[in-house]
Symmetry: C2
Subunit: 352 residues, 2 copies
């Protein structure tokens, strides 16, 4: 089969890790007799530098027409230091999510046995952790009305949600829970926010259609504690955009394996796959960044395209590299002969 893949390497370590994912896909293509047509596109700081626009029209077009989108990372400290900058890399990603309607961000958080020792948490706390975080991605305060007063002395961000936005991702969360441990935890701040109360009401209604799934509620402040105190209590976490941003990043470090976590962002027609880690500018170009999350994003993408066996093949190769210790220094430690980014990619491709 032939697939068109939009590839957005992005900023920082994005290009180097995405290259390794492409190596893995090329190996899959060879073994399973597929054709992956990569269409490279720009987004983020690199796009601003090249075109002045963090999300050129060309990129939107490429993404719309592709069977799936593989994305690296976005962001450059240059822009963070200047809060008054009108054009920022992140706008590219936000606009892409909005334009393609990628409303459902799924972030699986798993404690890999071989990586538990890298976790800041104690083994007995995290061993066995397996969470799927469903974060709403095209609503809430991210996309609300923004204002600065004329004198620049006050600022405003609006946060809205409607039943439709809440429902579509909730159904996906409940359906996923049915294939897992049958529990959904809604994270909100219903004791303070009107939007959270709408989430609670809507999700409570929807839960009635999934009688085999248990629904629990947790205030976001409490959730931030529970994730550390007892992450194993969670199966599927469902939450709005901003809480999902915070909670999923927090969750990503507990397993000691942020360099291995991939995520998908799903819309009605399009789907984007990316590592959870950011652009990590300090490591850019040094061939030391861990490519496994990007490679596993490619596996998630194959899964999404219905290529289950192919996805498994990548996952097995990743497990092998962990087992043999052919890994970058974030996992292996600086003094233990870590492999370079490209060496890890080569190994994965060869093994496949």
């Amino acid at each position: 089969m032939k697939y068109t893949i939009a590839v957005i390497p992005g900023d920082g370590i994005g290009p180097e890790v995405t290259n390794q994912a492409k190596k893995a896909l090329d190996a899959i293509a060879e073994v399973y007799d597929h054709i992956f047509l990569y269409e490279e596109a720009q987004m983020g700081a690199c796009a601003i530098e090249a075109t002045g626009n963090p999300l050129p029209d060309e990129t939107i077009k490429t993404c719309k027409n592709a069977d799936a989108i593989l994305f690296g990372a976005i962001g450059d400290p240059k822009y963070d230091k200047d809060p008054s900058a009108k054009v920022r890399p992140e706008q590219g990603l936000l606009k892409l999510r909005q334009t393609l309607g990628l409303f459902c961000n799924v972030r699986p958080v798993k404690a890999y046995d071989s990586l538990i020792k890298n976790s800041p948490l104690k083994r007995e706390i995290i061993k066995g952790t397996d969470i799927a975080i469903f974060r709403e991605l095209t609503g809430g305060i991210y996309f609300g009305k923004k204002e600065v007063s004329e004198d620049g002395k006050s600022a405003f961000d609006g946060c809205s949600y409607d039943v439709e936005e809440i429902s579509r991702i909730s159904h996906l969360a409940f359906k996923t829970a049915q294939t897992r441990r049958k529990k959904v935890t809604l994270v909100d701040k219903a004791n303070v926010l009107e939007t959270s109360r709408l989430w609670r009401k809507t999700v409570t209604e929807i839960a009635k259609q999934y009688k085999d799934v248990k629904l629990e509620f947790l205030f976001v402040d409490n959730a931030a504690m529970q994730l550390i105190l007892n992450p194993k209590q969670f199966d599927v976490i469902l939450t709005e955009n901003l809480f999902g941003d915070i909670i999923s990043d927090e969750a990503s470090v507990i397993g000691g394996s942020i360099g291995l976590l991939a995520s998908s962002s799903l819309g009605k027609r399009n789907a984007l796959f990316e590592p959870i880690h950011g652009s990590f500018p300090q490591a850019k170009g040094k061939d030391i960044a861990n490519p496994l999350a990007s490679i596993l994003s490619a596996a998630m993408m194959l899964e999404h395209l219905g290529l289950h066996e192919e996805a498994d093949a990548i996952e097995r190769a990743v497990e092998k590299s962990l087992l043999l210790g052919i890994t970058t220094e974030d996992i292996k430690g600086k003094n233990k002969y870590p492999a370079s980014t490209s060496k890890v990619g080569d190994f994965i491709a060869d093994y496949i």
Copy 2:
């Protein structure tokens, strides 16, 4: 000296832990020859039950006239389950913060050596952690415009900040940093939110008046990770209301000592002191809740009233109880003959 203390026991375990704090204060009064006049007031679920109002006018008056306010905890699961409830316990606390202008919430997070073993995090990660979190408490999305559409199908929360609100707490944060390790970390989401960009701009300006203090910025999602990966990097954390709610609760569990963490909420004329832990309804009335955070809130209050020696005396008594293991089961474990709430209170009072 004579001091009038407004005492708000509140809900859940609030009354039992506050009682122990009063025992400690009574002991201080005796030894140091002070008079503490307690004026009890109601707030929260208990106030709703008694008067229909989570914050009766009487309570506001009592608090306004007191030299300081000692508060227990708020909240009852009964109200959480019903998102459409018009009257909720938490409204009492929010309205009190607003009415008294308690804009600056300070939450010290310390890893007590004797409690590190209770932490979900590894010893080497947390040993030495000592953070002061400055959370803005009367602005942001907590107090913005709230709306539900007529058909109930969409909801809205507005978030605003102005330079004045940001400045007053920022000055306090920088001044505190000057007496500590001279670093302020502003936690925001300036890559997405207009209000965060105003925070960044304003705080950057203010920092120029505190040249001996280093200012750093961290996106809230990254902060949620860094708090777990390397909490020792932080000295003073400064942040807006909602981020402060999440981040400070997260931080409170890393030391294994949430039962020991106290906080102050400061306004121009009034100051309120409370444990960080919540109303813990499951433990209500069982005489098992840890009273140390409430007792340490009383110490914070004495400090605020300028009674430094007296505050030290309470802190020494708390340390002694930890050393001797005269502690409740959350610290000691169920099977190791934990002391009851009131026994811990008695010990502290006797020791003083």
